[in-house]
């Protein structure tokens, strides 16, 4: 399969951005954004869909770490 060209890439990114905007507005409830989801999956190669899902998860996780902080796990006991 040939790689997406410039306009195909742009179409995919726009669909992704619309989906993400919808998810942001609806508190990540996937049910409210079904039409954007199907558009996104139609316009982007399946590998990219998987990649962008992972990317969104990563960005959300990063945001959570930056705003809510985290508790570090207990590492191996250091000799005092």
């Amino acid at each position: 399969m040939t790689a997406p060209n410039s306009s195909q890439r742009k179409a995919c990114w726009d669909a992704r951005d619309q989906l993400w905007k919808c998810l942001n507005d609806n508190d990540d409830k996937a049910a409210s954004c079904q039409n954007f989801q199907s558009e996104f999956e139609a316009k982007c190669p399946s590998q990219w869909v998987k990649y962008f899902i992972k990317r969104r998860n990563y960005l959300k996780y990063k945001e959570k770490m930056q705003t809510e902080g985290f508790t570090s796990t207990e590492g191996p006991q250091q000799p005092s």
Binding site: M1, T2, A3, S46, W48, Y51
Partner: protein, 276 residues
Amino acid sequence: MLGLKCIVGDLCVGGRLPRSLLHVQKTSVSSKSQHVRLYERPPHLPWQTRVCFLSYGQNSPASGAKLKLRTRVLVTLLFGGGLLAMWWFVDLEKQQRLRQQHMEQLQKVALGQGNFSLLDHRGQRRTKQDFLGSWLLLYFGFTHCPDICPDELDRLSAVVSTLDQDTSLPPIQPLFITVDPERDDASALARYVQDFHPRLIGLTGALDEVKEVERDYRVYASPGPKDEDGDYIVDHTILIYLISPDGLFLDYYNRMNNQEQITQSIRNHIKAYVRL
């Protein structure tokens, strides 16, 4: 005590001793209320605030007070300006030292020592020798890249275009080397590079040729698992490399460097460059 500060301050200004002594005499003779006010002030006055005292000095003539005020403000500004200039100079030296250290570290690493031999997007064989004499801006990626490679190539193209406008600089040669030679043959690259800078050359080759240049520039590239379409994503380092006309690696730029920083850095390198 304030009188003492007056004298010291005036000595700093440089030689207005007689006038200040006169002033001290006058304030000591002044009314009780003024005397009380003097002691109400906090003990450690910076000498600049004395300007306030002088400005409502009842006993000194108005023009004299104004002259002293202006002089003191001027001296303060000069002093402050001098301090700023010193700080700026020291900071400049520090930047220079940091740049020097950065260069030395990169020279120790000595990337790109080998000679690559690849096919360009028109199917012509190109070796490292062919590019000697030009400044190169190198990026490793692949055409099936979801977002990062087009983004970086856009940035790279914008940098080269900006530098093109400066006629005092030689033209930079942008290069795109694929980390996915299995799918990115010459025609795939030709389709891809047309979306970016007109001088961008795409390079591919046999698997071992590409692996050799990846090793040379210490590029990490790892193809991911294939899905049912046979599609996969290649995880790889995201860096733009600057190569001198002698084929030596000079600097690199990552996602944290913005376009203006990269442009300026390249400009500095070209200006500082001395041919071997």
